[in-house]
Amino acid sequence: MELTGAEIVVRCLQEEGTEFLFGYPGGAVLNIYDEIYKQDKFKHVLVRHEQAAVHAADGYARATGRVGVALVTSGPGATNAVTGIATAHMDSVPLVVITGQVATPAIGQDAFQEVDTVGITRPCVKHNFLVSDIKQLAATLKKAFYVASTGRPGPVVVDVPKDITTQKAEFSYPKKIKLRSYSPVTKGHALQIKKAVQMILDAKRPMVYTGGGVVLSNAAAVLTKLVRLLGFPCTSTLMGLGGYPMPDPLFLGMPGMHGTFEANMAMQHCDVLIAIGARFDDRVIGNPTHFSQDGRKIIHIDIDPASIAKRIKVDVPIVGNVQDVLTEMLKLLQASHERPDAEALKAWWTQVELWRSRDCLKYDRNSTLIKPQFVLEKLYEATGGEAFVTSDVGQHQMWTAQFYKFKQPRRWINSGGLGTMGFGLPAAMGVQLAHPEATVVCVTGEGSIQMNIQELATCKQFNLPLKVILLNNRYLGMVRQWQEFFYGNRYSESYMDALPDFVKLAESYGHVGMRIEQPGDVEGALKEALGMKERLVFLNFITDQSENVYPMIPFGKGLSEMMLV
């Protein structure tokens, strides 16, 4: 039977098992919206800004491992979506973003709401398509889902001109698709894996450095087995938190610019570094020339060959899906009677414990002001470490990463690569829709939350009982911190003046608002809020304005050049 392009779009999403379509209507996608109206297989979630549609789809994807789907109109719809697309691209999140486009004959005519979406999004997508033939529409959408979800995942944009949505074609959704120009590897090279295992067995001062790849490839369970079998110290980057249980004694905390003393020192002084789905980025290792290489061997497992040897030379590169490679490694280790030198490992742990005893995350617990760290510790306790936590970007993000000890993957959802303020609230919406019964918390700052605060309306419409934890220090905290450290206390434009009354604001959107000013009230407020299972509660914590995130590695320095409390 022949279907219109709009019907085909809707049918394709249904075939893919799409649960939620995050979107915002407009001229170029009206035909698609008309078909959405007529169906009930998936739910459309109307956001209040296109950026939020993509972040919400992104949050859904990160929390479930499935492809997130968003739909926006042409022109400003597409440009508003770009920040969301770039965010997903930097963090390798599988998304399909369908953008409306002006009708084919109008393309290039500077038509109303026309923009070169394929051109604008090209550098921040895994791939994109402009559909110019109705006969190719279904196959293109199939390709989009396939490319987005395989290999190193990423966002794929499908730009659909309005006339294509009214034209008709025979519909058949391909079951499978093969692209001659795209065949991502999964299995790692057997010989390289053997070499790596031998290097691990020979290690005297080993360190396991894991990243977002562990979460993306659902490798948390096998990673945990492997690390425990070996008894090696382990760290996870901002993107990898929860890939290894953080409360575990083998876990040293996060590495990097605001990583723990013990994690950074162990990264720097190990003799074998096992990098798993992590990419040695600037916020993790600082200046690569300060990343000491003396006698240290590096094993690097990554699905993206371009991530290997990009910033750091490695000794044993293994291209492959992290889960597959770790499973192979574990098999080899279990079959081997050899074990790493126990004496050497003991001596190494003595050193690591010495570093850990530095207690680098300590803060003033007797302060009469609310310390942001304290709020997060109490949040961790009150939720048993089991909540889904999204964040925005800045100090609150780093403190959450340091103080909320995730036990499972896909629970910590933040914009690591692009560092997108305004990500947290819409991402939390996607997470809550994916897990309606779960506790979903958005930790934010008064700068970040105002970048997408309009989504409180979406939360009301869809009854999303999020808990918004606003650590309100009346400053763009991370900017202020840099200005204090590196710009002689010249707080240029970092003070957030004229803040709204967040309690009234939350209430005006139909939610519950709370203002907490005393440290003694923190725990009670959190418990009360978490008890309101059906309501979104917006907790405005008035925190210490002068608190800084420690440790800190100044930009351009190496891992052992930390500023400590």
Binding site: G119, R122, P123, K126, L179, R180, A306
Partner: protein, 163 residues
């Protein structure tokens, strides 16, 4: 180091801009670039001459391979290959120049493909160095216009780039 990179890719709208965009976004250098369909009209063959350290070239190849439209990539300079470039030069051909330019074209095995009262257009094909040498040999004031295709290359013997 100079490298000549050959790319086989889907002959689709926008494929060229993906490659060009990759080079500019990541700060890689393009000395010359050319592209045209192959005997299989669904595929295009692109040749890029670039410069960079071994690390940079390795990243360029990896990043090119990451592009979904790219079927295969080869660094021709890694092995035996031949290279050719074609050039059209419009030169002054009046008075004493007229004989001189004809003689120079002959010496370099160029062909005069267009003649007017006052100009010749010389077509010259060869290694990049030969084209450079020809331009060097000409009196600068005689050159009116130069058009070069950029280098194209192909592997020797059984070294092939096929889908």
């Amino acid at each position: 180091m100079r490298h000549i990179i050959s790319i086989l890719m889907e002959n689709e709208a926008g494929a060229l801009s993906r490659v060009a965009g990759l080079f500019s976004a990541r700060g890689y250098n393009i000395e010359t670039l050319n592209v045209a369909p192959t005997e299989d009209e669904t595929l295009s063959r692109m040749t890029i001459v670039t410069r960079g350290t071994e690390d940079v070239i390795e990243q360029i190849i990896k990043q090119l391979n990451k592009l979904i439209d790219v079927v295969k990539v080869i660094d021709l300079s890694e092995g035996r290959h031949t290279e050719r470039e074609m050039m059209l030069v419009k030169v002054k051909a009046q008075g004493e120049w007229r004989e001189e330019m004809k003689r120079m074209a002959d010496i370099f095995r160029g062909r005069i493909i267009d003649v007017s009262d006052v100009t010749y257009t010389i077509e010259l094909t060869g290694a990049v160095s030969k084209l450079d040498a020809f331009l060097e040999a000409l009196d600068k004031s005689a050159i009116i216009e130069t058009v070069r295709t950029g280098a194209s290359g192909i592997g020797r013997d059984d070294r092939v780039l096929k889908a």
